[in-house]
C-alpha cells in the first residue's frame, strides 16, 4: 500500500511534468526552444506510476515523447530545461535535445527518435543486469505505434525466451501520429499480443496513477524473481497534438474533450482531497513545482553553449 507521502510525491511529480511541458511549449513559441518535440501532457500518470514502482537504480528506456519519463525517473529539471535550450549544462550538453535525453548514471538509458528502437536496447540492458546478477530490472517505455515495428517483435521475443528482467510498458494513447490504433491493429487490446510470446499481458488505466503503479509493481516483482518479462498496456491519451507541426485533423474535439475530463492530475488531486489532504498542501506543492520550473528556465537561459571543438571530442570514447 502506498503511503500518503508517496502519493504526494506522485502528485508533485505529475504536476511538475505538466508544468514542465506547458512551459516548454511557451518557450518554443518564444523561440527559445526549436526543432520539434512531443508533449507528454495527459499521460503523466503512466510515467509517474511506473517509475514509482522502481528502485532508484533500476533502469528505464524512453521514447521521443520522453520528458515525462525522464522527470518521473528523477531527472534534474534544470538540466532538462537546459538541454531543450541546447545548452552545455543540459543532460546531453545540448547535443541531444528533446528526443535524446539520457541520464545513464541515474538509470535513464535514454530516449530515442526512432520509434521502437529502444526496445532491443532495454532487452540488452536487462540481459546485462541478469548476467551481473545485480537484481535490477529494466522498464521499457514505448507507444502503441512502436508495437508494430520489427524491433518490438524481435526484442520482446528474445526477452521472453531468455526470461529477462524487463517490463514492456506500452503507452497506448490510441494514435501513432495520425494513425489510430483501430487501423493499426486487428485486435481490440494491444496487451493481447503478449500471449504470442508466452508472457503475461496486462491492461491498466493509464489515467490512474495508482492503477499504473499497481500493475507495474506486480510486473517488477515478477521480473525481480526471475519470472521474466511482462507486457503492460496503459490506456492513456495525449491532450496535445503529436508534435509541434500537428494540425490535429484526425481526432474529434469530442474525443479530446472526453479524455481531458479524465485528467490524471485532477483525478489524483480529488483522490487526495477525499483522503483528507488539505487543499493548501497541494497548493504548496504546486507552488514549489512552479518555482522549480522558473528556476530551471532561468538556469537554462543563463547557460552557455558547447563549442564545435568540444563536440568533436565526444564522438568516440577513449
Amino acid at each position: 500500500m502506498l503511503t500518503q507521502e508517496e502519493k504526494l510525491r506522485m502528485f508533485y511529480s505529475m504536476y511538475l511534468i505538466r508544468r514542465f511541458e506547458e512551459s516548454a511549449e511557451e518557450l518554443y513559441m518564444a523561440g527559445k526552444i526549436w526543432g520539434t518535440f512531443h508533449l507528454y501532457i495527459g499521460e503523466e500518470a503512466v510515467a509517474v506510476g511506473a517509475c514509482s514502482a522502481l528502485h532508484p537504480d533500476d533502469y528505464i528506456t524512453s521514447t521521443h515523447r520522453g520528458h515525462g519519463h525522464c522527470l518521473a525517473k528523477g531527472a534534474d529539471v534544470k538540466r532538462m530545461m537546459a538541454e531543450l535550450m541546447g545548452k552545455r549544462t543540459g543532460y546531453c550538453l545540448g547535443l541531444g535535445g528533446s528526443m535524446h535525453i539520457a541520464d545513464v548514471e541515474k538509470g535513464n538509458l535514454g530516449a530515442t527518435g526512432i520509434v521502437g528502437s529502444g526496445i532491443p536496447i532495454a532487452v540488452g540492458a536487462a540481459l546485462g543486469c541478469k548476467m551481473q546478477k545485480n537484481g535490477k530490472v529494466v522498464l521499457c517505455f514505448f507507444g502503441d505505434g512502436a508495437m508494430n515495428t520489427g524491433a518490438f517483435h524481435e526484442a520482446v521475443n528474445l526477452a521472453a525466451v531468455l526470461k529477462l528482467p524487463v517490463i514492456f510498458l506500452c503507452e497506448n494513447n490510441f494514435y501513432a501520429m495520425s494513425f489510430s490504433v483501430k487501423k493499426a491493429f486487428g485486435i481490440q487490446d494491444i496487451a493481447e499480443r503478449a500471449a504470442g510470446y508466452g508472457m503475461p499481458g496486462v491492461i491498466v488505466d493509464g489515467m490512474d496513477v495508482l492503477a499504473v503503479y499497481e500493475g507495474v509493481s506486480e510486473a517488477v516483482r515478477r521480473a525481480r524473481n526471475n519470472g521474466g518479462p511482462t507486457l503492460i498496456e496503459a490506456k492513456t491519451y495525449r491532450f496535445k497534438g503529436h508534435s509541434k507541426s500537428d494540425k490535429n485533423v484526425y481526432r474529434t474535439k469530442e474525443e479530446i474533450k472526453m479524455w481531458m475530463e479524465r485528467c490524471p492530475i485532477k483525478r489524483l488531486e480529488n483522490h487526495l482531497l477525499q483522503e483528507g489532504i488539505e487543499a493548501k498542501v497541494l497548493d504548496a506543492l504546486k507552488e514549489k513545482a512552479e518555482q522549480e520550473i522558473q528556476e530551471a528556465v532561468r538556469f537554462g537561459m543563463e547557460s552557455e553553449e558547447l563549442t564545435l571543438e568540444e563536440a568533436r571530442r565526444l564522438v568516440y570514447a577513449d
Binding site: G86, T149, A176, F179
Partner: protein
C-alpha cells in the same frame, strides 16, 4: 513556354498526382501520408482525390512498407513508398538492398521491380541525431538501384515523374530545407531523364560538383565569388546513380579545377566517387587537387549553432574554392 511558380513540395505533389491520374498502377504507401498529408505535407490532398485504396497509410513498419512496395511492383504495380525520414532507411535496408535491388539480376532478368522510394534528407531543422541524416551514399553503392537527389522544384517534378515510369527501384532523396523553396516550372507536363546532370551556372575558373541543397548553396557562393571575378561553374548532379560522368569531365576539362560539396560526413561518402573519377579520367586536366567539402565527422547535434556548423554553408564553399584557386 508558359511557366508557373511552385514550391519543391508542390512540384513533388504534382508529379505524384499526374502519374497517379495517368496510370492506375501508381499508388502511394507510407506513414501518415493520407489525412495527415505526410510529415512535411507533401502528399496533402492526394487522399481526397485518390482515396484510401491508392493512398495507403500504414503502421510504423518501415520494412513492411518497403517490402510491400517491392512485392506489389513484382506483380505489375508502380508503388511510390514514403519513408518519413531517410534515417529510417536503416530499418528497411534489407528490403531495398537485398530484395529490390538484387531481384531482377538474381532471377536472371525475369522480374521487374519498378518502385520509387521517396524520403526526406538533411539537417537544419533542429531535429537532432535521429532525424537529420543524409544516407544517400549508402545507396549509390548498390548495383540495381538508381538514386536521385534534386535541388530545385523543376528538377524534382521532372525527375520524380521519370522515376515513377522507370522500371527499376529508384531512391528519391528530398531535402527538407528545400520543400518551401520556389521555382518557375513549365505549365505543360514534362519529364527529365534520370542519369543526366545539369550545369546550373557556367564559369571558367573552377567547377563545383554538388547535388541537392548544396547546389543552392554553391550557387550562392558562386555569386559572392563572382564579385571577386572568380567565375564558378556549378554542376548539379541530380542523379547520383547512374552518374553523369561526361558532364563533370567536360566541365573540368575547361576549368581544370574542381571541388565536390556535399552534406553527409565527409569521410567515406559518395563525394569521394567524383574525386576518384576525376583522378582516373581527368588527371592531366587538373591544375590543382580536387578537394571535397563534406559534413563534420559527427552525428547531427541539436544545438542550432553546432548544427549549422555540421554541414557546409555558403561561406565554407567560398573558402574552399579560394583554397583550390590559390
Amino acid at each position: 513556354m508558359p511557366t508557373k511558380t511552385v514550391t519543391y513540395a508542390e512540384a513533388i505533389r504534382e508529379a505524384l498526382r499526374e502519374e497517379m491520374r495517368k496510370d492506375p498502377g501508381v499508388f502511394l504507401i507510407g506513414e501518415d501520408i493520407g489525412l495527415y498529408g505526410g510529415a512535411f505535407g507533401v502528399t496533402q490532398g492526394l487522399l481526397e482525390e485518390f482515396g484510401e485504396e491508392r493512398v495507403i497509410d500504414t503502421p510504423i513498419s518501415e520494412s513492411a512498407i518497403a517490402g510491400a512496395a517491392i512485392g506489389a511492383a513484382l506483380v505489375g504495380m508502380r508503388p511510390v513508398a514514403e519513408i518519413m525520414f531517410c534515417d529510417f532507411l536503416t530499418l528497411c535496408a534489407d528490403q531495398i538492398v537485398n530484395q529490390g535491388a538484387k531481384m531482377r539480376f538474381m532471377f536472371g532478368g525475369k522480374a521487374k521491380v519498378p518502385f520509387v522510394l521517396r524520403t526526406p534528407m538533411g539537417s537544419g531543422t533542429g531535429a537532432a541525431g535521429h532525424h537529420s541524416g543524409s544516407l544517400e551514399s549508402w545507396f549509390t553503392h548498390i548495383p540495381g538501384l538508381k538514386v536521385v537527389a534534386p535541388a530545385t522544384p523543376r528538377d524534382a517534378k521532372g525527375l520524380l515523374k521519370s522515376a515513377i515510369q522507370d522500371n527499376n527501384p529508384v531512391l528519391f532523396f528530398e531535402h527538407k530545407l528545400l520543400y518551401r523553396t520556389k521555382d518557375a516550372i513549365p505549365e505543360e507536363e514534362y519529364y527529365l531523364p534520370l542519369g543526366k546532370g545539369e550545369i546550373k551556372r557556367e564559369g571558367r575558373d573552377i567547377t563545383i560538383i554538388a547535388y541537392s541543397i548544396m547546389v543552392m548553396r554553391s550557387l550562392e557562393a558562386a555569386k559572392i565569388l563572382a564579385q571577386e571575378s572568380i567565375e564558378v561553374e556549378v554542376i548539379d548532379l541530380r542523379s547520383l546513380r547512374p552518374l553523369d560522368e561526361e558532364l563533370m569531365l567536360q566541365s573540368v576539362k575547361k576549368t581544370n579545377r574542381a571541388v565536390v560539396v556535399y552534406e553527409p560526413p565527409q569521410f567515406g561518402a559518395f563525394g569521394a566517387e567524383m574525386v576518384s573519377l576525376l583522378m582516373e579520367k581527368a588527371f592531366d586536366d587538373l591544375d590543382a587537387p580536387v578537394l571535397r567539402l563534406g559534413g563534420e565527422e559527427m552525428p547531427p547535434p541539436y544545438n542550432p549553432n553546432l548544427e549549422r556548423r555540421l554541414v557546409p554553408q555558403v561561406e565554407d564553399i567560398v573558402n574552399i574554392v579560394k583554397q583550390v584557386l590559390q
